[in-house]
Structure formats: structure tokens, C-alpha cells
């Protein structure tokens, strides 16, 4: 199975995602520069974390116009599993592949810490091996992760069970104290209507081995591995 990891100028978690796919999972992985126009036969596409284009204007606002994004949108429209992590999530929102937008963290601080994240839904390609309510301890590292959308959009996300991850305390309670950035309803990650596009602010790719302090993020990658193995990939043009 092949992971294609898109690299934007300023991406800095691209190698973490590559390492998780290639060395932890033992799968094929390839970097795809943002100026390219094909995803090189990807079964799974990852938009990694970082600071694309220096976060100028708004996070992800310029990256969404990169040439590769046309192929990314086609991959998503075809049902391909697409994961946006941190800056990748911000890019997906700016591109309209996921609803909502990110505001500055409510305390204006950059948060770099392990947080509690609760898995809300398991019918996405990235949570199929998790259990509903499972607690993950994985890191966040962002200054603009304060998820916002209009009340009607939030209501639609909730009623269609598209909130996939929420910030929570060690007992799984989604308290305000456990919310690191002020996100509406403690939202840490959501999915698309087709459920194949998932975006989250926490970094599962940085928590795939015990030596890193947590291997809780591995379940996202193992899930997509089993999903693609079970259903076959949506392969993109290899050229």
C-alpha cells in the first residue's frame, strides 16, 4: 500500500508522516512536491503538518492554490482516504474539502504538548480499528487550532456524526479545561460528508512508537491500512 505525502514549502512534519508509513508500518511511501500534478499512484494521501508558506495571510490560505491540490481534490472526490494533520487540516478547510476555519488559539499561545483526544466515530478509514470513546494521548503543536464554523454548520457536523475527535481530560470528559485552543464543542478533528477525508489538529504521526512517549496515534494508520487492504485502494494515475 502506498502513502503519498504532499510537501509544501514550509511543511515540517512530512518526514514524521513518511517515517510512520514507511518504517513503522512498513508500507511504501513517497513525497510529492506541491508543484507536481499527480499523486503518483497513492492509496492514501497525507497533507502533513508544518507552516506552509510561512502561515502568511492565513494558515493554509496559499497552499490551497498549489498545483497538486487539483489532484488532491480529485482523489478525495473519488473516495480516496485523505488525512490532513495540523497544517494539513488547515489547508483542507481553506480548500473547502472540509467545512469551517481555524482561529488563533483563544489564549494566543502556541501549544506544544500531549493532550487527551477521544475518538467519537469509527466509520472513517482512519478510525475503523479504534473503538468509540477510545482515549488517545497524542501531541498538538499549533497556534491556530481554534476550530470555528457557523452554528448551522456545527449543528450539521454533529447531527451527521462528522466530529471524529474531541479534546478530553484523562477520564474522557470533554471539559473546557481539556480544550487547549477554544475549539467549538472541543472539536479536534472532523470528516467530510463522504467520510473519507479526515482532518485533525493533533499529530498522530508523532505518536506511533513508545520511544516517542506514545504509540496511540498508530491506530489511525493501522485503520487505513486495513481499510485499503479490505476494500482495495482508489489508485491514482501512476505517471
Amino acid at each position: 500500500m502506498k502513502f503519498s505525502i504532499v510537501v509544501f514549502p514550509g511543511s515540517n512534519c512530512d518526514h514524521d508522516a513518511y517515517h510512520a508509513a514507511k518504517h513503522v508500518l512498513g508500507q511504501e511511501a513517497e513525497f510529492v512536491w506541491h508543484k507536481e500534478t499527480t499523486l503518483k499512484g497513492a492509496d492514501v494521501v497525507v497533507l502533513p503538518g508544518g507552516f506552509s508558506h510561512g502561515d502568511y495571510l492565513r494558515t493554509g490560505a496559499i497552499a490551497r492554490f498549489s498545483p497538486i491540490m487539483t489532484a488532491v481534490a480529485q482523489f478525495a472526490a473519488g473516495g480516496g482516504p485523505l488525512l490532513g494533520i495540523c497544517n494539513g487540516f488547515q489547508i483542507l478547510c481553506e480548500a473547502g474539502l472540509l467545512p469551517g476555519a481555524m482561529l488563533r488559539n483563544r489564549d494566543l499561545k502556541f501549544h506544544c504538548e500531549h493532550v487527551g483526544v477521544r475518538v467519537e466515530q469509527t466509520d472513517t478509514p482512519f478510525t475503523s480499528l479504534a473503538t468509540k470513546g477510545q482515549l488517545l494521548r497524542i501531541p498538538i503543536a499549533h497556534g491556530e487550532g481554534n476550530y470555528f464554523a457557523d452554528a448551522d454548520v456545527i449543528a450539521d457536523l454533529e447531527s451527521s456524526r462528522r466530529v471524529i475527535f474531541r479534546y478530553c481530560d484523562s477520564r474522557g470528559q470533554t471539559t473546557d479545561d481539556a480544550n487547549p485552543n477554544g475549539s467549538v464543542n472541543n472539536i479536534a478533528g472532523i470528516c467530510s460528508e463522504g467520510r473519507n477525508v479526515v482532518g485533525l489538529m493533533p499529530h498522530p504521526e508523532r505518536a506511533c512508537e513508545p520511544v516517542l512517549g506514545s504509540a496511540d496515534g498508530l491506530v489511525l494508520f493501522e485503520s487505513v491500512l486495513s481499510q485499503v487492504a479490505a476494500h482495495g485502494g482508489v489508485r491514482t494515475a501512476a505517471s
Binding site: L57, R58, A61, I62, F65, C93, E94, P99, G100, A101, L103, R104, N105, R106, D107, L108, F148, A149, D150, G182
Partner: protein, 90 residues
């Protein structure tokens, strides 16, 4: 030359002001307001922080320049989920 015929393009300045929508919390504006209050400026209430862009535009009329500036504001300068904008042409 007849008025309106063969109008030449002119260089103009488009000023685009982008602000957070009223429903969106602005932690930066609030922090600035709190700083001003602690400095003794009791006459200043809320502060909302925004962005300001100056675009050099070549267009045949101020209306055309305004349309162009609005188009790029819609596409790139502002995110309609959280922001609104206003255009001035000079």
C-alpha cells in the same frame, strides 16, 4: 476621442480592509483592548483587529478596479467562513 470610447487603462489603488465577522471571537483584539484599559484609556471599548491590503490595480474604470479587488478578496484575501471585507478605490 469620444467620451467612453477607447478608454485607456489607468493605474489605481485598491484598499481592501478584512475584518473578522461580528460573530467571531477575536482574542487579539480583546488582548489589545485589555492593554488599553490597563493603560487608562477608559474611553475605548471593544477593539477588533483586522488586515489591510493595498493593491496596485490597472483597470479601465474605478468600477472595474473594485470588481477585480472584490474578486481577489473573495478568492484569497479573506476567508468568508470567518471574515468579511470592504473595498475602497483611489
Amino acid at each position: 476621442m469620444g467620451v467612453g470610447l477607447h478608454r485607456k487603462s489607468k493605474k489605481m489603488k485598491a484598499r481592501v480592509f478584512v475584518t473578522l465577522k461580528p460573530s467571531v471571537f477575536d482574542p487579539q483584539g480583546q488582548t489589545i483592548a485589555e492593554a488599553l484599559h490597563s493603560m487608562g484609556y477608559a474611553g475605548i471599548g471593544d477593539v477588533r483587529q483586522g488586515k489591510y491590503f493595498e493593491l496596485d490595480v490597472t483597470a479601465k474604470s474605478p468600477d472595474q478596479a473594485r470588481t477585480l479587488a472584490a474578486e481577489v478578496a473573495d478568492k484569497l484575501l479573506a476567508n468568508p467562513v470567518i471574515e468579511s471585507y470592504r473595498v475602497e478605490i483611489e
